[in-house]
């Protein structure tokens, strides 16, 4: 089961990277980037809310609450900016892929409990943040044409990186105590 989830998480990460930087995929425009950013944040807020309610681990709960706070904050900034810029988020395959990945993750997490839940949630958080960093570096930041949108993406990057380090730290702790 665990192996299955790990594979699913990797497949999700891979699907994001394939969607976003396939050689022949056109670079997203600002309206598409806005939709990708909002969706990416929202799926992690949703997973965090589920984990906050379900986990029995203090460390996982604190991490989940941090994800909800931070990704909600980033989303508010992103929405405020695109509203100011009069950019209407435009749905696209990357945003759809992220939404599907998020929905699949929630569906799987709902079937799990206890240590299996914690491990699946944290494993997915690691894969998700790796994928988001990759997308920021290779697609979103280079493709953003509006300077303020690009600056916001650059500012978001250290937070995503810190989340990844935190998630990896948790993953190592769960691995050490869970087996």
């Amino acid at each position: 089961m665990t192996q299955h989830l790990r594979l699913a998480a990797l497949a999700f990460a891979a699907s994001l990277s394939i969607n976003t930087h396939a050689q022949n995929a056109p670079a997203p425009n600002d309206a598409q980037i806005a939709a990708i950013v909002v969706t990416a944040n929202q799926v992690d807020v949703d997973a965090g809310k589920l984990a906050d309610g379900k986990t029995r681990s203090k460390a996982v709960k604190a991490f989940a609450q941090q994800m909800v706070t931070d990704h909600t904050g980033v989303n508010k900034m992103a929405v405020d900016l695109v509203t100011k810029l009069k950019v209407k988020p435009q749905d696209n395959p990357t945003a759809k892929g992220l939404q599907k990945g998020g929905d699949d993750n929630l569906a799987k997490l709902r079937t799990l409990d206890g240590a299996a839940f914690d491990k699946a949630y944290v494993d997915h958080e690691v894969a998700y943040h790796v994928a988001v960093l990759d997308a920021l570096d290779k697609v979103l930041i280079p493709s953003a044409s509006n300077a303020e949108l690009k600056a916001l993406l650059v500012k978001v990057r250290p937070a995503i990186d810190a989340h990844l380090q935190h998630a990896k730290h948790l993953q190592a702790e769960l691995g050490a105590s869970g087996s």
Binding site: A62, Q66, T69, D70, G73, V74, M77, L152, K155, V156, P158, A159, D161, A162, Q165, H166, H169
Partner: protein, 101 residues
């Protein structure tokens, strides 16, 4: 000469206030900058959050800013000498040190 003396007298009247400085710690890129700060007793330290996410400046049990929203700041006047480890309770990997002499 006389003018200078008057000026010096005027400045010395304000000297106690001038001795107490305000130091700024910028929170940006998920870091406290500077990561180590030494201040004098009576100085004020202000944390300015330039990140896109909320942070705290917390040195339990001495002080706790609670959440500082992006773009907001929080400050405290430090009256007792001591050494504090200042962390962000939301992002436990964010650490800094503050020495009050």
């Amino acid at each position: 000469m006389l003018r200078q003396a008057v000026l010096a007298a005027a400045l010395s009247a304000f000297a106690p206030a001038a001795w107490c400085e305000t130091h700024t710690v910028v929170i940006e890129n998920m870091r406290f900058q500077p990561a180590a700060l030494t201040v004098k007793r009576g100085d004020r330290v202000v944390w300015v959050n330039r990140d896109v996410v909320p942070h705290t400046a917390t040195a339990a049990p001495s002080f706790d800013s609670a959440a500082i929203a992006p773009g907001a700041s929080w400050g405290i006047t430090l009256k007792k000498p001591g050494r504090h480890e200042v962390v962000c309770t939301m992002h436990p990997m964010m650490k800094s040190s503050l020495v009050v002499k």
